[in-house]
Amino acid sequence: MSEEREDRWRGWMLAAQRGDAPLYAKLLTELTPYLRAFVGRRLLDSTASEDVVQNVLISLHRARHTYRPERPFSPWVHAIARNALIDFARQRTRRTKRETSLDADHVAEPAVAAVEPRAEQLPQALEDALAALPNSQREAVELIHLEGLSVAEAAERAGVTKSALKVRAHRGYRAMRASLDRDGIAEDEL
């Protein structure tokens, strides 16, 4: 990271700690491609890589008070990104352990020809994906998208901050998307 950029980002981070939203937006916008490159070098799967970048941004937001003005900025960001990568690897390992691989030889032939997911099946797929979410994420998605509440109202109903609710909803969307991907349902079919 160049010294000039390090100073600029450090200044923006300090402004963000004081509550300067425009400079914070600038910081996150400039950081995003940098993080994409950082994470992309360690993860080949581009979708997973983007998920990790989003997690880094969320972690950075949650941990922004842990940045000390006298410390360099880049080691702080790198540590957050590394932790997000480690968390991702752990989650993937846990998920892989839970899933059972189906050997092609042992999969029974379908009695009827497989059909593409039809429009009328999609709500059920969505419902299943929603039901599979952890309670907190499902509640966030339901409050915002099924009950049509504003983020502020939904946060009040859930008893959490607006930011926390958004993070939960965001994670819920991602988990649902991953679930639909696994079921072979394309996003534009929804």
Partner: protein, 219 residues
């Protein structure tokens, strides 16, 4: 689509930005925790009486004292550094120190230098309680800092801060306890407080992890 979500996330995070107070310097928090521990030690010294004269202490006793001190300090430093991204090297040094200190304290406790008697375990429970009471002084400061930090592995963080605090508590008890028999030193001053602290980290981490996800971005 995923990139669009990232852009939306950036806009959301910036929109929700609230001013935050940066965490205190690690050395300031460490000093505050040690100062509070010092106050607890002085109180314990006056309330609980004194250990036999140091001339009567076997050399293993000094090893035990040093081990508990290094374990306590290492645990506290590791837990504080672990709560701040970018301070992993410091956390690693603290963790190694804690491991070394615990090993030294255990080895000293098991060396049997004090000899075992029929009353060797007498009063161990009292010393465990005293260790935890004295250790709760640095725990108060370090725990608040760690809980405010950016911790993702709650179990490890809880274990570090609890074992570190218990180590400092046990150090104070070892230095002031008049009962210096083998089983008592091992159980009451070493294994008891450290194992209890490690076990207490399990429920603490569970509660902490749950409350952390509830108040994810309150800070």
């Amino acid at each position: 689509m995923t990139r669009r979500l990232t852009d939306e996330l950036v806009a959301d995070l910036a929109r929700d930005l609230e001013p935050v107070r940066p965490v205190a310097r690690l050395r300031v928090v460490s000093a505050a925790a040690l100062a509070l521990w010092g106050v607890a030690v002085v109180l314990a010294w006056f309330l609980d009486g004194h250990a036999p004269e140091p001339e009567a202490w076997p050399w293993q006793h000094f090893v035990g004292l040093a081990g508990l001190g290094v374990a306590g300090l290492g645990g506290i430093v590791a837990s504080l550094a672990n709560a701040v991204p970018g301070r992993e090297p410091t956390a690693k040094v603290g963790l190694y120190a804690m491991g070394l200190g615990v090993s030294a304290a255990l080895a000293a406790g098991m060396s049997g230098a004090w000899g075992a008697g029929s009353g060797s375990y007498q009063g161990s429970l009292g010393c465990v309680v005293r260790s935890i009471a004295i250790g709760s002084a640095p725990l108060l400061i370090a725990g608040l800092f760690v809980m405010r930090g950016a911790v993702s592995q709650f179990r490890g963080a809880a274990c570090l801060v609890l074992v570190g605090s218990a180590g400092l508590g046990a150090l104070a008890v070892q230095a002031t306890c008049p009962t210096l028999t083998g089983g008592h030193v091992l159980v009451g001053h070493c294994v008891g407080p450290l194992v209890l602290a490690a076990l207490a980290s399990l429920p603490l981490a569970a509660v902490w992890g749950r409350s952390s996800s509830l108040h994810a971005t309150k800070s």
